[in-house]
C-alpha cells in the first residue's frame, strides 16, 4: 500500500525552489511568500503524518516503493518509523522558521531562497529514504546548496569555511559510498534496501563496513577530533543556514549512525561501543572546555554543539533502548534549542552589528523580549528541567548509566554528567556578558524583536517547553523506532 505523503513532503520544498526560480521577475516579497507557503504546507503535512502514525502498529509506515535500478535491487523507497518521524517534523519545522528568519535578506533573494528550499528537500530525503542509493543521493544533494549559501551570503572567512565544510563532508561521503558498496556485497541476496535484516557477528569485513560508514557520520555529528569544520561553517554561515546546519544537518550524522551502523551491524557496534563511548565523553568535556574560551557569540554556540552532540554519541553507543531513545530525543531537542540560539544571535547581530562578547553588554534594557527568549534557549541548552534539554539529557544519562552492554559505562556516564556543570558556566557567562550590567550608550536606540521575529522565536520556545513538560509526545513515537534495533 503506497502512501504519497512522504514524496509530497520531501519534494514540496524543491517544487517551491523551482517556482521561485521560474517566477517572472518576482519582487523579493513574492519570493519570500512563495517559500514560506511551500515550507508551511510541508510542515503541516509532516505534522499530519506524525498524528496519523499508528502508535499501535509501530514499524515503518507511510511507505512508498517504486522500482528504480532493478539490477542492484535499488528502488525508490520512502518510509518513516519512530526514529525518523521526529526528525522529519523537526526538518519541516526548522524549514519554515529558516525562511522566516531570512525575511530581511534582499541580496539575490531569489537564489537564496531557492537554495534554502533545495537544502530542505535534500535533508528530508535523507531522513525518509529507505534505500541506500537513494540515501546517498540525498546525502550529497544537501552539499551544493550549503556551499552556495555559506560562500555567497555568509560573513567573515566565508569561502574558506564553505570549502572546508564541503571537502570534509565529501571525504566522509567517499568512505560512506565504499561502505555502502561493501554492505551491498556482504548481504545475501545483494540488495540496497535498508529495511532488510541485520548482519549478526563480528568479522573483519563487517568491521570495515562499520567504520567506513561510521567515519562519515562522525564527521557530520561531529565527533572530536573530526569537528573543526563545524565552528567555522556555523560562524560564517548566514543566520538561517546556521539554524539549519546546527538544527538538522548534524542530526543526519546521529541518524545515520543508528540507522546504518547500529541497525545493520549490532554486534560490531557492541564490540566497539566502549571506545566510541570514550570518544563521546571526550567530545562532551573537550567541547565544553573549548566553548568556555570563546569570545565570539556565534562561535561559542557553535562549539557548544560539539559538546551537546557528544551526548547523542553517548546515548547511541550505550546501546540500550532507553539510551537510544534519549539520544534521539536529544537530537530533536538540540535541533530546536540550538536552532533558537543561532536565530537569537542572528537577531542580536542584526540589531547591534556586534558579536564580540567583550564589547556587548547591558542589552536587556534595550531588548527585553530578546533577553527573555535568549534566556529560555540558554537554560534549555544547560538542561534545566521543564525544557526539552533536561528531558533529553536525563533520559540519555539514565539509559547510559543502566546499560548492560558496555563495561564501566557508569563511570563514563558520570564523567559526561560533569559536562552539565561546565555548560551552566558558559551559558550563564554568555548571558551575563551580553545582557546584564549597566546599559551601554553605544547600544541606545537598538530595537527589540519586531512582530514577525517574535512569532518566529516564540514558536521555538513553544516547542522547547512542550517537549520539556511532556516529553512523551516524542518518546511515545521514538520508542517504537528504537525497539526493533537492538537484537539482544
Amino acid at each position: 500500500m503506497d502512501s504519497w505523503y512522504l514524496t509530497i513532503i520531501v519534494f514540496l520544498p524543491a517544487l517551491g525552489a523551482l517556482m521561485v526560480a521560474l517566477l517572472p521577475k518576482p519582487s523579493p516579497r513574492q519570493v519570500k511568500l512563495t517559500s514560506a507557503g511551500f515550507t508551511l504546507v510541508a510542515f503541516v503535512l509532516s505534522v499530519v503524518v506524525f498524528a496519523l502514525y499508528d502508535r499501535n502498529a509501530s514499524g515503518i509506515q507511510f511507505e512508498q516503493v517504486a522500482p528504480w535500478i532493478p539490477a542492484i535491487d535499488s528502488s525508490y523507497h520512502l518510509g518513516v518509523d519512530g526514529l525518523s518521524l521526529p526528525l522529519v517534523v523537526l526538518t519541516t519545522f526548522l524549514g519554515i522558521l529558516a525562511v522566516l528568519v531570512s525575511w530581511k535578506i534582499d541580496l539575490r533573494a531569489r537564489e537564496y531562497f531557492a537554495w534554502l528550499l533545495v537544502l530542505e528537500t535534500g535533508i528530508l530525503g535523507v531522513f525518509t529514504a529507505l534505500d541506500m542509493v537513494l540515501f546517498f543521493l540525498f546525502w550529497e544533494v544537501e552539499l551544493i546548496p550549503m556551499y552556495m549559501l555559506i560562500s555567497i551570503w555568509g560573513t567573515g572567512r566565508k569561502e574558506y569555511s564553505a570549502i572546508k565544510f564541503v571537502i570534509y563532508t565529501l571525504i566522509g561521503s567517499a568512505l560512506m559510498l565504499a561502505g555502502i558498496l561493501l554492505l551491498y556485497f556482504a548481504r545475501e541476496p545483494h540488495s540496497m534496501d535498508m529495511a532488510l535484516l541485520q548482519l549478526r557477528g563480528v568479522t573483519p569485513l563487517f568491521t570495515a563496513i562499520f567504520f567506513l560508514l561510521l567515519v562519515a557520520f562522525a564527521i557530520k555529528l561531529p565527533v572530536v577530533p573530526l569537528h573543526t569544520w563545524l565552528p567555522d561553517a556555523h560562524t560564517d554561515a548566514p543566520t538561517a543556514v546556521s539554524v539549519i546546519l546546527a538544527g538538522i544537518l548534524l542530526k543526519m550524522g546521529g541518524y545515520g549512525m543508528i540507522r546504518l551502523c547500529v541497525n545493520f551491524l549490532p554486534d560490531v557496534a557492541r564490540e566497539f561501543a566502549l571506545i566510541l563511548v570514550i570518544f563521546a565523553v571526550i567530545s562532551v568535556l573537550y567541547g565544553a572546555a573549548v566553548t568556555l574560551r570563546q569570545r565570539d557569540f556565534k562561535r561559542l554556540i557553535a562549539y557548544s554543539s560539539v559538546s551537546h552532540m557528544g551526548y547523542v554519541l553517548l546515548g547511541i553507543f550505550a546501546l540500550s533502548t532507553l539510551s537510544l531513545t534519549g539520544a534521539s530525543l536529544q537530537m530533536f531537542s538540540h535541533g530546536v534549542v540550538t536552532g533558537l540560539l543561532f536565530a537569537m544571535v542572528g537577531l542580536v547581530y542584526d540589531k547591534t552589528h556586534e558579536r564580540n562578547l567583550d564589547v556587548l553588554g547591558g542589552l536587556s534594557r534595550q531588548m527585553p523580549v530578546i533577553v527573555v527568549v535568549f534566556s529560555v534557549a540558554g537554560l534549555a541548552s544547560l538542561g534545566l528541567p521543564g525544557t526539552s534539554g533536561f528531558a533529553a539529557e536525563f533520559i540519555t544519562f539514565l539509559g547510559s548509566f543502566t546499560s548492560t552492554q558496555v563495561s564501566y559505562i557508569q563511570v563514563y556516564t558520570v564523567l559526561g554528567v560533569v559536562g552539565i556543570v561546565i555548560t551552566a558556566g558558559y551559558i550563564l557567562w554568555m548571558l551575563q556578558k551580553a545582557f546584564y550590567g549597566p546599559p551601554l550608550e553605544r547600544f541606545d536606540g537598538v530595537e527589540d524583536a519586531d512582530r514577525l521575529e517574535m512569532a518566529t522565536i516564540f514558536s521555538f520556545v513553544a516547542a522547547i517547553m512542550l517537549i520539556g513538560i511532556y516529553p512523551a509526545v516524542l518518546t511515545d513515537v521514538i520508542k517504537l523506532g528504537v525497539a526493533p534495533i537492538l537484537p539482544w
Binding site: 572546508k164 571537502i167 570534509y168 572530536v224 577530533p225 569537528h227 573543526t228 569544520w229 573537550y286 572546555a289 573549548v290 568556555l292 574560551r293 540500550s320 533502548t321 532507553l322 531513545t325 547591558g362 536587556s364 534594557r365 537554560l379 534545566l384 528541567p385 521543564g386 533536561f390 528531558a391 536525563f394 533520559i395 544519562f397 539514565l398 539509559g399 548509566f401 543502566t402 557508569q410 556516564t413 558520570v414 554528567v417 560533569v418 552539565i420 556543570v421 551552566a424 558556566g425 550563564l428 557567562w429 551575563q432 545582557f435 546584564y436 550590567g437 549597566p438 546599559p439 511532556y470 516529553p471 512523551a472 518518546t475 520508542k479
Partner: protein
C-alpha cells in the same frame, strides 16, 4: 480531605505565575498592583489548604494521591508524577505558604514603585510553586525537577536588578556553585535507579520505595562502599550546594544582592532549607549508612561554627544574617547527622519564622536608611519601634533564650549531638555563644546608640520613619511565631512524635526542661554572647577596634572569609580552569586538531604545486617521459616474463 486540594496547593501559585506573565504583564501594564494581589490570593488560599492538610495528616496519617503517567517506555522506565503528603510534607507546606504569604504582603510595600514590580511577583509565584512542588514530589526525579526550579528562581531573583554588575555576578555564582552540588545529586539518582532495577527488575525513583529498601541497598557493595553510602553522599552533595554548607557556602552571602524580601523567603526560610529537607526526606537511606551520617554531622557542625565566625565581623547587616543562615543550616545538618531527624526539622520550622523576620527587619531598616551598612545606621529604635521590637524578638529567639522558639529546637539538637557525637557537641555549644554575640551585635549597631546618617553618611539629614503597615503587619505575625512556634512541642504528641507518625507524650514540658543541667549550659552560653555584644557595642567597655587589634589575625581571617572566594574564583576557576586546562584545550584545538586539517589541505596544495612543474606543456618532455615509460615496461616484461 480530597487529594485534589494537595494538587491545588502547588498549582495555585503556578497559575499565578502564568496569569502575571501572560495576562497582567503584557496587557495590564498600568495596574501592576494586580500582580501582587494575584500572588497573595493564590498563596493565601494555598495556606488555608496547607493548614487543612496538616490537620488532616495529623488526624488521619499520610494522604494518598494517585500518580499520573509522565514518560513510559515499556521494559525500560516508567516515570510517574505523584504527590507524597506525609507528616514531613504537611509541615513544610505550612512553613512555605505561611512565610511566602508574609513575604509577599511585605513586598507590596518594599517593592512599591519598582519598575520590575510585575516581574518580581511573577518570579515569586514561580518560586513558591516550585518550592511546594519540591516538598510534595513523591519521586526523586520530580524532586530534582523542582529542585532545579527553585534554583532557577533564585538565579532570577538574585539577579533581579541585573543592571547592577554585582547582582548579575552573584546570580551566576549562585547557580553554578549549587549546580556543582546538583551534579552529585543527579549521579545519585542514576545510581539509585540502576540499583533498584537490579533489586526488583524495574528501576524506580519512588521515595517511599527507597524508605522501605534502604537497608537492602546498604548490603550491596559498590566501589569500596555500599550503594546506600554512595547514594546518600551524592544526595548530600546536592544538599550541601543548596543549603550553602562548607565547601559550597560561598554563594549565599553574595546572594544578598537580591531584593531583601527575596533573601527572607528564598535565602533564609525556604529554598536554602531544601537541602535539610532533602536529607530528611531520604532519611532512611542516610540511616542505612554510618559513613554518610558521619559526613552529614561533621559537615553540619563544622559549617555551623565556620560560618558563625565570619558572621562575627561583617558590617553589612544582610551579610551577617546570611552567615547566620549558613550556620543555622549547619545546625540542622548536624541534627540530622546525629539521628535527630525530628529535632532538625523542628529547628527548620522555627528558623524559617525568626530568620525570615530578621531579614524583613533588615529590609525595613534599609527602607528607612537606604543602606545595609550597620556603621551608617544606629539609633533606629526610636523612629522604628515596631521594626526594633520584632527584630529584637527574633534575635532573642535565634540566640536560643528560653522560652522563645529557637531555644526548644536548638536544645534538642544539642541533646542528640551530646549523645552521638560529643566532639561535635562542643563545636555546636561554642556556636551558640557566637550566634548570640553576632545577633546582638547587629541589634546594638542598628537600633542602639545615635543615628549615623544612613546612606548619605554623617552629614545627611536624618529623616527616619517607620515602614508602612503593609510591611509591619507581616513582621508582627512572624514575631508572634518566633516566640511561639517552639511551643508546638507541647501539643498532643509533640512535634517529634508527630513527624515520626506517632501519637504519644510530648517531648518536653515548658518548665521541666529547666530541671536538666545541659539546657542551662546552652542558655548561659547564649546570655554570655549577648552580654559580650552589649559590652562592646552598647556600653563600649571594650571597643570593637581594641578587640580587632587584640585578635588581628583572626579578624583578618574572618573578614576575608578565609580567602575562599579568591581560592575558588581566582585560583581554581580563572587560573586553573579557564586560563589553564581549558586554554590548553583551546590551543590544542586551534593548532593541533585544526592545524592538522589545514595541514593536510596545505600539503595537498604543495604537492600539487610541485607536481605541476612536470606539466610544462612541452611536447618534447612528454615524449621523453613516454619513451622512458615504454622502455621501463618493456624492460620489466623482458626480465620477468
Amino acid at each position: 480531605m480530597p487529594h485534589h486540594l494537595a494538587w491545588a496547593i502547588f498549582l495555585l501559585p503556578l497559575g499565578s505565575f502564568v496569569i502575571i506573565s501572560f495576562i497582567i504583564r503584557p496587557f495590564f501594564t498600568r495596574w501592576p498592583q494586580w500582580a501582587g494581589y494575584t500572588t497573595i490570593a493564590s498563596i493565601g488560599i494555598g495556606l488555608i489548604f496547607s493548614v487543612w492538610t496538616l490537620i488532616d495528616v495529623f488526624n488521619n496519617g499520610p494522604l494518598y494521591v494517585p500518580p499520573v503517567d509522565w514518560v513510559v517506555i515499556e521494559g525500560a522506565v516508567t516515570i510517574h508524577l505523584g504527590l507524597l503528603v506525609d507528616q514531613l510534607t504537611a509541615v513544610m507546606l505550612v512553613v512555605v505558604t505561611l512565610v511566602s504569604l508574609m513575604v509577599q504582603v511585605y513586598s507590596q510595600g518594599y517593592m512599591h514603585g519598582d519598575g520590575g514590580y510585575c516581574r518580581y511577583f511573577a518570579f515569586m509565584s514561580l518560586f513558591t510553586a516550585s518550592m511546594l512542588g519540591l516538598v510534595l514530589a513523591d519521586n526523586l526525579l520530580f524532586l530534582y525537577v523542582f529542585w532545579e526550579g527553585v534554583g532557577l528562581c533564585s538565579y532570577l531573583l538574585i539577579g533581579f536588578w541585573f543592571h547592577k554588575p554585582e547582582a548579575a555576578q552573584a546570580a551566576k555564582k549562585a547557580f553554578i556553585v549549587t549546580r556543582l552540588g546538583d551534579f552529585g545529586f543527579l549521579a545519585a539518582i542514576l545510581l539509585i535507579f540502576f540499583q533498584t532495577r537490579n533489586l526488583t527488575g524495574a528501576g524506580t525513583f519512588d521515595i517511599l520505595f527507597l524508605h522501605e529498601h534502604a537497608t537492602e541497598l546498604a548490603k550491596i557493595g559498590f566501589l569500596g562502599a555500599s550503594v546506600a553510602t554512595w547514594a546518600a553522599l551524592g544526595v548530600f552533595s546536592g544538599a550541601v550546594g543548596k543549603s550553602a554548607q562548607f565547601p559550597l557556602h560561598t554563594w549565599l552571602p553574595d546572594a544578598m544582592e537580591g531584593p531583601t524580601p527575596v533573601s527572607a523567603l528564598i535565602h533564609a526560610a525556604t529554598m536554602v532549607a531544601a537541602g535539610v529537607f532533602l536529607v530528611a526526606r531520604l532519611f532512611p537511606l542516610f540511616e542505612a549508612s554510618e559513613q554518610a551520617m558521619l559526613a552529614v554531622a561533621t559537615i553540619g557542625a563544622f559549617t555551623a561554627i565556620f560560618a558563625a565566625s565570619m558572621g562575627l565581623v561583617m558590617n553589612d547587616i544582610k551579610r551577617v544574617l546570611a552567615y547566620s543562615t549558613i550556620s543555622q543550616l549547619g545546625y540542622m545538618m548536624l541534627g540530622l547527622g546525629v539521628f535527630g531527624y525530628a529535632a532538625a526539622m523542628f529547628h527548620l520550622f522555627n528558623h524559617a519564622f525568626f530568620k525570615a523576620l530578621l531579614f524583613l527587619g533588615a529590609g525595613s531598616a534599609n527602607h528607612a536608611t537606604g543602606t545595609f551598612d550597620m556603621r551608617q545606621m544606629g539609633g533606629l529604635r526610636k523612629a522604628m519601634p515596631w521594626t526594633f521590637a520584632t527584630y529584637l524578638i527574633a534575635s532573642i529567639s535565634i540566640a536560643g533564650i528560653w522560652p522563645f522558639a529557637g531555644f526548644w529546637s536548638k536544645d534538642e539538637i544539642l541533646a542528640h549531638a551530646l549523645e552521638h557525637q560529643p566532639a561535635l557537641f562542643v563545636l555546636a555549644l561554642i556556636t551558640v555563644f557566637m550566634t548570640a554575640f553576632y545577633m546582638f551585635r547587629t541589634v546594638f549597631m542598628t537600633f542602639g546608640g545615635e543615628y549615623r546618617g544612613g546612606a548619605g553618611g554623617e552629614h545627611s539629614k536624618p529623616h527616619l520613619h517607620e515602614s508602612p503597615a503593609v510591611m509591619v503587619v507581616p513582621m508582627v505575625v512572624l514575631a508572634v511565631l518566633s516566640v511561639g512556634s517552639g511551643w508546638f512541642n507541647f501539643v498532643e504528641g509533640g512535634f517529634p512524635h508527630f513527624l515520626e507518625g506517632a501519637h504519644g507524650e510530648p517531648a518536653s514540658f515548658f518548665f521541666t526542661v529547666l530541671a536538666h543541667p545541659w539546657p542551662w549550659v546552652s542558655l548561659l552560653m547564649g546570655i554570655a554572647g549577648i552580654l559580650l555584644a552589649y559590652a562592646m557595642y552598647s556600653a563600649k567597655w571594650v571597643t570593637p577596634e581594641r578587640m580587632g587589634q587584640l585578635f588581628a589575625p583572626f579578624y583578618k581571617l574572618f573578614s576575608r572569609k578565609y580567602w575562599f572566594d579568591e581560592l575558588y574564583e581566582q585560583v581554581f576557576v580563572v587560573r586553573f580552569l579557564v586560563n589553564g586546562l581549558f586554554w590548553i584545550n583551546q590551543l590544542f584545538d586551534t593548532y593541533i586538531v585544526d592545524g592538522l586539517v589545514n595541514g593536510v589541505a596545505e600539503g595537498t596544495l604543495v604537492a600539487g604545486r610541485g607536481l605541476r612543474r612536470l606539466q610544462t606543456g612541452q611536447l618534447q618532455l612528454y615524449g621523453f617521459a613516454i619513451a622512458v615509460g615504454v622502455l621501463f615496461i618493456a624492460g620489466a616484461f623482458y626480465l620477468f616474463a
